[in-house]
């Protein structure tokens, strides 16, 4: 992050350019939605654009492109815990404990023989 006035003055144009780029990406997101793509592809495209926009905000506006290692360390821990958090719903899908088993008919062998 530039703290000296000369560095800050040089960054002013960059802030405006990034803001304009974010608006362009928003238009692209809306335009891509009008194409009525298949849901998995639409989700992929939307998330790629969102990650790109988010990275620009974090790197430039939040000055993460030039920060101290303590900030990066805190964010690395956040990313790890975030990944664990987002995986929790998948464990609930895979968990079959307590799920009713399909009824087996009279005289029908469980193995199907």
């Amino acid at each position: 992050m530039h703290s000296d006035p000369a560095g800050v003055r040089a960054s002013l144009r960059k802030y405006v350019m990034i803001g304009a780029a974010l608006l362009v990406f928003t238009v692209i997101t809306v335009a891509a939605n009008r194409l009525h793509l298949a849901v998995p592809f639409a989700i992929t495209v939307a998330l790629i654009i969102a990650v790109t926009k988010g990275s620009m905000v974090a790197a430039v506006f939040m000055h993460l492109s030039n920060e101290k290692k303590w900030i990066y360390g805190a964010l690395l821990l956040t990313a790890i815990f975030f990944a664990v958090l987002m995986s929790v719903p998948f464990f609930t899908i895979m968990d079959s404990i307590g799920t009713p088993q399909p009824a087996i008919g009279v005289g029908e062998h469980p193995a199907g023989h």
């Binding site: 928003t26 849901v39 926009k53 905000v57 506006f61 719903p89």
Partner: protein, 180 residues
């Protein structure tokens, strides 16, 4: 009692205490919004507000930059613009909610709407929180600029980090809740 390292950097971390504090707070916010996002994963799965929040991020970072350049007048202008854009965002949100509720689409209508109202409501509360802080920095909190300009600049930077995070969350909420 003076709080240490509000302006000067700690020798061990190289950071002012407030900077590390706001980043740890934002880390907890990632987990808060992440928990709600994760509920959306198991579901089969307002551009205007996006424009407003992106614009407010630009005005916010410019408000900080103007303090670094000791341009108090421009700083006030940019911070006021950020506050106003946030206000327009909330007005839009009010019309959006009213439209949903008028059509009987409340949070109890479907799982999607329950998640939609929870996520956008929580995000809206964060907008209100940011506006309260900005109102303080525009009002009584502005006196600090004359007493300790570096500390005031740090406060604006931390407010900006929070505000950019709120913008960042919206960048992900917009395609997930409004487009897909």
């Amino acid at each position: 009692m003076n709080i240490p390292y509000t302006v000067e950097e700690r020798p061990d971390s190289g950071l002012a205490n407030g900077k590390l504090g706001i980043w740890l707070f934002l880390a907890s916010e990632v987990m808060l919004f992440g928990a709600l996002f994760s509920t959306y994963i198991i579901l089969p799965l307002g551009a205007l507000n996006t424009v407003l929040l992106i614009s407010s991020s630009v005005t916010m970072v410019m408000a900080w930059a103007m303090l670094k350049l000791h341009n108090w007048g421009r700083h006030r202008l940019y911070l006021l613009a950020t506050f106003a854009l946030a206000g327009i965002f909330l007005v839009n949100k009010y019309f959006e909610y009213s439209d949903h509720l008028a059509r009987g689409e409340g949070p109890s209508h479907s799982t999607f709407l329950a998640i939609y109202f929870t996520l956008t409501g929580l995000h809206g509360l964060h907008i209100v929180g940011g506006m309260v802080v900005m109102a303080y920095l525009l009002g009584p909190g502005a006196k600090l600029w004359k007493q300790n300009p570096d500390q005031f600049t740090n406060r604006i930077e931390y407010t900006g980090l929070y505000w950019h995070f709120v913008d960042l969350v919206w960048i992900f909420l917009f395609p997930v809740l409004y487009l897909l």
